[in-house]
């Protein structure tokens, strides 16, 4: 089993324990699961709105218990394989942290924005399984949530540093913890046995040109994150628009025309989101 993650701060350690989730979505999913007429499509859509619940579902279906670790990357497939009973169990066991609801709401919307953008990009450039890109987009900042909930003092120090030095949340994380959320993502992905493509998407979205196995997913999430920031959807922890890595658009063969088309479509989707 993966070790806990030791930070630069004295005594501050990240441990994969109960993760927080949003009560609204949790309730919605719980109601759907109880109703025998609900489709897996409805339920997976509802679950997809919550990054922590999504992560738990994927973690469960990719655990060795079901016998196919590291194979399943979409919530829809996870639902078919887990069944409603297990989903119910996951919901019951998922503790509700008020911290998450109050402090991380902006991050959740940012993540949802990034998910929408990532799947729009994936569709525009003809990737198979755009829903996996959406999952990667949704989970790309999960490390921030885990760190914030488990280490509230570090969170406060990071927030203070962002304001004081006007740097990005990621830079502040590195100064306080010794690493940033993309490193935390990698640790979580290993711990949860997530498929390699999601792992790369989550842990390389800030260094998309360094991803080796599935560079495309890291690149798409990188651009998705950039677009979500550009449109100001939600809050990623600082006021900055993330820098677009050089060469990413070329690597994905996204011409300016394609990019504008994606942005036009997203503008409408983001309005629905608000």
């Amino acid at each position: 089993m993966e070790e806990d993650l030791r930070t630069n701060q004295k005594g501050a350690i990240l441990a994969v324990k109960d993760l927080p989730t949003l009560p609204g979505v949790l309730q919605e999913v719980a109601v759907l699961v109880e109703n025998p007429n609900s489709s897996t499509d409805q339920i997976s859509k509802a679950i997809s709105k919550d990054q922590v619940l999504s992560a738990k579902v994927l973690k469960m279906v990719n655990s060795p218990i079901y016998g196919f670790p590291g194979r399943i990357g979409s919530i829809q497939h996870a639902l078919v394989l887990l069944g409603f009973n297990v989903i119910k169990g996951i919901i019951i066991s998922t503790s509700v942290f008020d911290v998450m609801n109050e402090n991380m709401k902006g991050l959740w919307e940012h993540s949802l924005g990034c998910a929408l953008a990532s799947s729009a990009i994936a569709r525009a450039i003809g990737c198979k399984d755009p829903e996996e890109y959406a999952v990667a987009g949704l989970l790309h900042d999960i490390g921030k949530v885990v760190a914030a909930v488990q280490l509230p003092e570090s969170r406060a120090a990071i927030d203070a540093l962002v304001l004081e030095k006007d740097i990005s949340y990621r830079q502040a994380e590195s100064e306080v913890l010794g690493f940033a959320h993309d490193r935390i993502n990698l640790w979580l992905c290993n711990y949860w046995n997530l498929p390699a493509n999601l792992k790369e998407g989550l842990s390389y979205h800030h260094r998309p040109m360094s991803a080796t196995l599935y560079p495309k997913i890291a690149q798409v999430v990188h651009v998705g994150n950039f677009l979500a920031r550009l449109f100001g959807v939600g809050n990623g922890g600082d006021n900055q628009v993330s820098a677009l890595d050089e060469g990413v658009l070329e690597a994905l063969e996204i011409t300016p025309e394609v990019l504008f088309k994606i942005m036009d479509g997203l503008e409408r989707e983001f309005v629905d989101l608000a």
């Binding site: 218990i65 079901y66 016998g67 196919f68 078919v80 394989l81 119910k88 169990g89 019951i92 998922t94």
Partner: protein, 312 residues
Amino acid sequence: MKDGKHFFLVTSDAKLEGSLRALWPEEEVKWTCFARGSSALEFLFSEPPDLLVVDEQLPDLAGVDLVRLIKGENVYRQLPVVLCLASEDLAELQDFSTLEIDDFLVKPFSPPIAKGRLILAYHRSTRELDASPLTKLPGNTSIIHRIQDLIDRQEDFALVYIDLDHFKSFNDKYGFSRGDEVLLMTARVIVNSIRGFMGANTFVGHVGGDDFVFIVPREKAESACQQVIDNFDSIVPHFYDQEDRARGAIHSLDRKGKEQVFPLMAISIAVVLNRGGKLKHFGEASQIAMNLKKEAKKNPKSCYVMDKRASA
């Protein structure tokens, strides 16, 4: 009992915890105790213990509901579960026939009785069941018994046989452990697709290898088959390596050792309908199914073939 067993206890009753912990030395049985059902669930699903003891009276949910959540899953069916009741609970709990516990204890109990019961429950569960060791689904004995029982009672039902196309070539190329992954996935897909049609006569069994069976009410058969096919077809590509998946085929050796190209796996389904007591014997059903399956196999894509004689 051999050393190193890991038991879970779910209770908020400190006295109960104390008396159970005292039964064995730490190196023989390690207890993990949860005060709430919800906090136990996550660990039960991800790191099942060797035995589970549940107090009926929990602060957040009833012990029996916790048991139902766990035992509703074939994956966890072998986990032995002992329920701890107060004597007033016992009067209310009438329906032991549907409650999937392996034993129960009534508080207060004497330590030797508790110890004996727990040992018994643990060993009973480890004895061989008529279940596929891989998928834990009921095996041939249970399948035949179930079908013959329905036939004898002259009930209408649809008996559905499923097998995988091109499973052998997948196994040959990727190895049997990845073949097993596909079988486990198939079992989950069937179980969860059929669960939507819950009601009388619903049953899923694993004949062996890549052969599965399920039983549903006749009028539900077609939509059940369609759902199994849709779910299987959308998930199975994820079990191939990137390049094979992109190509939509694998290069592998045929039975004669010649290189051949095989398409991605699909499923062939044969549906035998029993109507008005037409079938007399289990053998008849399986004979009809085998003939229908040949028909289904002619289609390279996933498909199902219905028993036409019954619908005439």
